[in-house]
Every structure is written in C-alpha cells, then in structure tokens.
C-alpha cells in the first residue's frame, strides 16, 4: 500500500507553488482581483511554460500524459494561491477533445491547448442547476441556437466545448459567426464567468466518445474542484492560525484563548481529513475499482459536495477569526471566501451531487 503522493507529484506541486509565489504574489493577485477582466496573459503563459496546461493531455499532442491525480494536485496549489486563471475549464475542454475527438480534431486543437497558446473552456450550464449531461437541452445540429451560462473565462476563450442534448459534446470556435458573450458579475473575481449566446453558430461534434466522455469530463471536473477547495480551505486554516498567533488583545496573543483555539482546532478537524478524500477521488478516476459499479462517478460527487461544504464553512470561520479586517474588501480572506462560493456552484451544488451520489448508490 502506498497512499501518498510520489516525489514527482510533490515536486510538481512545489514548482507551481514557487512560480506563483514569485509571479503572482498577493499584490499582483489583488490587482487582478480588482481589474476589469481579471485576466493576465503573462501569468497564463508562465503557467503554460511550466506545463500546467497540458498535464493530462496525450504526449503526441504536446501534453505530459500524466494522470488525473497529477492534474488534481496542481489544482490544489492553484486553489491555495487563489490563482486567477481558467485552469479548470481549460483542462476539462482539453480532456473532452482528447476523449471524444477524432484523430483529425485532436491534431487540430490539442497542441495549442497543451501549450496554452490557445485557451479553451467548457460551456455546460443551462442555468436552473442544469450542469450534467443528462440535463443538457441545447439541440445538437450543424449549427447551434441558444445559450450557455456560467462559462468560465468566456471572454478569453478561443474555443468552447459545448454540452449538447443527449449528452453530446461539440466544439465552437470563438471566430465562428453568431456568438455573443455577455459578462456576468459574479462574486469570485479570480475566475470570471460569462453567458455565451449562439445564433446559427456552426458546431463540430466530438463524436468518438459518446455520452461516457461527457460524463467523465464532468467527473474529472468535480475532482478538480474538490482539489481546489482543499487547497483553498487548507490555506484558510493556515492563515487563520497564523493570524491568531500574531494578533494581540488583553496583552496576549488571541490564539491563547481557548474559545479561539477550539474554533481553529475544529476548522482543522473539518479540513485535514479531506486531503485524502480528494486524492482518493482522483485516484478512482485513474484506476476505477472494477468490483464497485459507478464508484468513480459516485466518489467524485461525494468528494465535490463534501469538500465544497467544508470549504464554505471554513471560509465563514476564517472570516470570523480575522475580526473586522476579515469583513473588509482590503482583507484577503474574502478572496477565498468567494472562491468557495464559486467552487460550491460550479458543475453543480452540493445538493445536486448528494442527490446524484444517492442515485448511484447500491441502496
């Protein structure tokens, strides 16, 4: 038994962390947080040069051909740093093409996605909590007419992988006619969203993978969100503990008060065990256990709902621990508080995924 990250995986995390410490320190993050578009092409390019944009893509198209677990451990680091890049949706769009694209389609699109030269995103949501393949209604044809909601990085994307009725996937290029992008004002300013309208827009179907491909893209998305949530929540526990060791009242550090010690201990108790939960959920994507039907999908939904609920709660607790400054725009906890709001909703709320996990149960 070896249920731990490999040295290579730890090194990958360390490399990305170091890059972000240098290239996206707090001042830079704050600037992007308040920026109109929140996107920094130089930061994206830097991450792409580290290989972050193609970790899971096939080597023949320029990817590193590693596992979902490798992708997830990077998601954790990006979550801890609240990195303002559309990593989640770009990774999933690339995964969709690699799973369901024809050889010609892969050759056409994947190299530029693996290198980060082009940005891709997923357009799955149709509002009203409709995120999953069985919920998609947008009709698949030679062209699309309709809209997709809550699309991450919509304004930067060169390529949209669109979820279509019947659990199908299609690709629309930004340059295609009839596309209109509408900016959405959402809480998390590190991952901006848009609504994408199609009006007679040409679409190319990704026909190779069938509905299983769309399902897998969603499952991997759930795991990546869980990993992001762990990274953010773990960071909030650490910053809260650090604040409690620094801030003084009544002539002593506030971390000496038992009320606060117990609150911080409970935060750690809620979060610490979830690292292993997201690891396992990622591992199950790479190596689904044969004797447990639907385990990979089911544990993805459980991990997503569990991590996002824990992250949301720990974000509230961390804000409280920080007192007045925690409630200000100037304070930093709000950034992760809002990332927790994003993670909670993206690809389906905890409620939706608890229902899904229950439906996939053997009971």
């Amino acid at each position: 038994m070896d249920f731990d990250l490999s040295d290579e995986q730890r090194m990958l995390q360390q490399t990305v962390k170091q890059f972000l410490d240098n290239e996206c320190p707090m001042a830079k993050l704050r600037q992007l947080f308040d920026d109109e578009t929140g996107f920094d092409a130089v930061l994206w390019k830097g991450l792409a040069e580290l290989g972050v944009t193609g970790i899971h893509l096939p080597a023949e198209y320029g990817g590193s051909e590693l596992e979902i677990l490798d992708l997830a451990v990077v998601a954790e680091v990006l979550g801890a740093h609240a990195t303002p890049v559309p990593f989640l949706s770009h990774s999933l769009a690339g995964l969709a093409i690699s799973l369901a694209g024809s050889p010609e389609q892969k050759k056409r699109w994947l190299p530029a996605l693996a290198s980060g030269e082009k940005i891709a995103t997923i357009a799955f949501s149709e509002a009203d909590d409709a995120w999953l393949p069985e919920q998609w209604k947008l009709a698949a044809g030679a062209t699309l007419s309709g809209a997709k909601d809550r699309v991450e990085g919509a304004e930067q994307a060169d390529l949209f992988v669109v979820g279509l009725a019947g659990g199908k996937l299609g690709v629309v290029e930004r340059s295609a006619k009839g596309i209109e992008i509408q900016r959405l004002e959402t809480a998390d300013r590190t991952r901006r969203l848009g609504r994408v309208h199609f009006e007679g827009t040409p679409v190319e179907l990704l026909a190779a993978g069938g509905t299983a491909a769309a399902q897998r893209v969603c499952d991997v998305g759930l795991v990546l969100i869980a990993a992001d949530a762990f990274g953010g929540a773990d960071k909030l526990v650490a910053t809260s503990v650090a604040y409690a060791k620094n801030r003084e009242q009544f002539g002593v550090i506030i971390g000496s008060f038992q009320a606060l010690k117990h609150q911080l201990a409970e935060m750690a108790i809620e979060i610490e065990p979830t690292r292993a939960l997201y690891w396992y959920a990622a591992h199950a994507q790479d190596h689904p256990p044969e004797n447990v039907p639907a385990e990979a999908s089911r544990i993805a939904s459980i991990a997503k709902s569990h991590l996002c609920e824990r992250y949301s709660q720990v974000a509230r607790d961390a804000t409280e621990v920080h007192g007045g400054i925690g409630f200000t725009w100037e304070g930093d906890t709000q950034i992760w508080f809002k990332r927790a709001m994003f993670d909670r909703v993206m690809l389906g709320t905890p409620r939706l995924h608890k229902n899904r996990a229950a439906a996939l149960s053997s009971w």
Partner: protein, 402 residues
C-alpha cells in the same frame, strides 16, 4: 499511489484465510471441552502461527513478529470476516500489557502478560477520581509504604469493568511532598480483597459498564509497582509500540452506516420507505463523505507508518473524528426512527447488521455521546490538536510546577 496490499500480502491473506477455514469455528478434537477451553486452544494455535499477540515476546506467550501494519490489517480483516476471536478485548491488552513490556520488571511480565493475553485475568484502569478528570495529575488517592506493603486509601471513578476485573493498574499519590506530576506511582492491585468496594454507576442508557471504586486500607506488595516511586505519571504515558491500526475505526463506521441504510429501508417516513426520502438520502451521503475522508486518511496514516514518517496533525485527530462521525450517525438514526425515536434504549450492540433494531439505535443515540467523553473528552482533544498540532499556546501550563 497504490491502494492494493500487493502480491506478498495477498499471498499472506490466502494463508490466513486457509488457517481460519480449518480452525474456526473449532471442529473435531478442537471442539471438545468448554467454550473457554476451545477459545484458549484457538488463541494458542493462532499465536503459534504468528497471527495474534504479534508485538509480545515469545517468552511471555506472544508470537513476537516484526512490526508490520499491513499484515496486522490483513489479519484483522480476515479474523473479522470469519467471526474469529482475536486477543481478549479490554484495557488489559490495550494499556497494561504494552506498559509492562516497556517499563515492567521481568517477573511482572512473567506473572501478568501471558495470563492477560490468554484471557485468564481481566484488568481495570484506576485513573479518574471525583475531583480529577481532565486534570488527572491532581489525583488524591494515596499510597503509604508500610513494611513490605503499600496501603492505599481513596476513591476512583468511571472505572470500566471494575466489577469484573481481577486486578487494577492504578495511579496513586505516594510522594505527597513532591510536585504534582512527580508524586504519583503506578501500582498494580488485586481487586479480590477486603477493603475494596466496587459500586456500579448506572449510565443514562440504563446499562452499568463503569463503577466507583473505594479503597479502605487496601494492600498491595511493595514490588507491585511499575517504574520507580514518583514515576507513575510517565509510566502511564508510555508510548504504545503497537502495530497502530489506523484503518480499523473507519471500518466500524462503515458497518454502522450499512446498518443505518438497512434501517432506512425498513422504516417508513410519510408512508414511504425512509430510504426514498430525499433529505434522508442526502444526509446518508453527507455521513458517507465524512466516513470516506476518515477512511482514506487512515490509508494515508498507514502509508506514513510503513515509511516510518509522521502523519502530522492528522494523527491527533482520529479520536475526535470518530466521535464526530458517531454523532452524525446517531442524529440521522433518530431522524429515521421518526416517532419511535422515543423508545427506551435496548442492549448495547454497536456492530454491523445486528444494529438494525429501533432500541439499539436509541441506545446508540445516547452511547455516541459517551464516546465524546470517554478516554479524554472532545474538548481536551481540541486542546491537544490546537496546542500540539497547530502550535497554539498551552492552557493552564502554570500548574505543572505546583
């Protein structure tokens, strides 16, 4: 990352399975004699194979195997699956034997370890006192050396199984003038003697697992002390060099959850099986999320054990995590019972499908609260995590010098 136990261990599993198939339940000659005799023979056989008493030297009746958490885990899984008995349960095997092996005199090991291991003698733990709970080192039960004997007076409380125990390992103040933590000795006491008065304490569940124990000029030989005079506090904190089992607890929780699912199928809410109620379904998944996180954290801790590395703060959280999960199961169970959440608690039975009766759930609804208190309250656990895990300042550190 590799979650399998690997070829070597699967081969070992096959070995254990084959042994159990042949040996449990006992048949032929092995099935002769009383239940106790059969049990003893089985344990001796399992020890001779190296499956039980693995951390205990051969000279004291153990099988003296090299520490191997994975083998330990495989053995536990297979013995549980076969319903076969392992070492006797109870505080003797858990606390006294490892302490003796680490700190005891040879004759003490000789006299007590084998007998405890074979289930011939049972122990109770004399730690808590009415005025000394979380602040255990303030204990007042006193021991005076009179000739060749310690004479002990005072009172212990919350003493589980004292009414069934043959002996007690006990913390006693023998050096009244020393500092708080340095005046305590670790004594072994024969429970079957005049001067010991064991009175049952009835629990809120109606059961009576634990007791008050009064000492009135109770006597124990001078050399029934483990460690030196005044070292009792340290002896009681002897690091347990066990094959730590970081997976077992989550397995029990999973069995409880399975029982709860069975109950949810059997019970009705609003005229339909409770398992069809969307709220109940979501709460079952929530509980499963906590259990799975605990379970995989166990895998991680076992991996760290195998590599002889520290699992970090996670290693301090196992008790409180189990406690929290127990509470969540208990609260969901009482919800599923609906109106029958009012019935009186029945026999304590916390394992597997036998759990599936209403009165065992109302019992568990209460018993789960007990888990938050026994062996160090949840609030003490929070202190430990905050101080040793998160590096926050100690509470009430001042009194260590008193």
């Amino acid at each position: 990352m590799d979650l399998s136990y690997g070829k070597e261990f699967e081969a070992f599993r096959g070995e254990v399975k084959a042994f159990l198939k042949q040996s449990w339940p006992p048949s032929g000659d092995a099935a002769k004699g009383s239940k106790e005799e059969q049990l003893r023979r089985f344990r001796e056989l399992a020890i001779s194979k190296g499956y039980l008493a693995r951390s205990i030297p051969k000279q004291y009746g153990g099988s003296e195997q090299a520490p191997d958490p994975l083998k330990g885990q495989v053995i536990q899984e297979e013995f549980n699956a076969a319903g076969a008995p392992m070492e006797p349960r109870g505080i003797g095997m858990m606390m006294l034997v490892p302490t003796l092996l680490e700190r005891g005199e040879d004759w003490q090991k000789e006299k007590f370890v084998r007998a405890t291991l074979m289930g011939e003698i049972a122990w109770c733990q004399g730690y808590s006192e009415p005025g000394s709970g979380s602040d255990l080192a303030s204990l007042k039960t006193r021991g005076e050396l009179v000739g060749d004997e310690w004479v002990i007076n005072g009172q212990k409380i919350w003493t589980s199984s004292a009414h069934e125990a043959d002996f007690m390992f006990c913390l006693v103040r023998t050096e009244p003038n020393a500092k708080k933590h340095e005046g305590i000795s670790y004594l072994l006491i024969d429970m079957k003697q005049k001067g010991i008065d064991v009175r049952p304490l009835r629990e809120m569940t109606g059961g009576a697992m634990f007791n008050e124990v009064f000492f009135n000029d109770v006597r124990t030989p001078k050399n029934w002390i483990v460690g030196k005079r005044g070292e009792g506090w340290l002896v009681s904190r002897t690091t347990l060099k066990h094959e730590r089992n970081s997976i077992g607890a989550a397995g029990q929780m999973t069995a409880l959850l399975d029982a709860l699912v069975a109950t949810a199928k059997r019970r009705k809410l609003d005229g339909r099986p409770a398992i069809e109620d969307p709220e109940i379904r979501r709460r079952l998944i929530e509980v499963e999320g906590y259990i799975r996180a605990h379970q995989y954290s166990g895998f991680f801790q076992m991996t760290k054990d195998l590599k002889k590395e520290s699992p970090g703060v996670l290693g301090l959280m196992n008790k409180i995590n189990s406690t929290h999960i127990g509470h969540r199961i208990a609260k969901l169970a009482i919800e599923i019972l609906g109106d029958d959440g009012i019935v009186a608690p029945g026999e304590r039975n916390m394992m597997g499908s036998e759990m599936d009766s209403d009165s065992t759930w109302t019992n568990y609804y209460m018993a789960a609260v007990g888990i938050a208190i026994a062996g160090g309250t949840a609030n003490v656990q929070r202190n430990v995590i905050a101080e040793r895990g998160l590096g926050l300042p100690r509470d009430v550190a001042a009194d260590r010098s008193k």
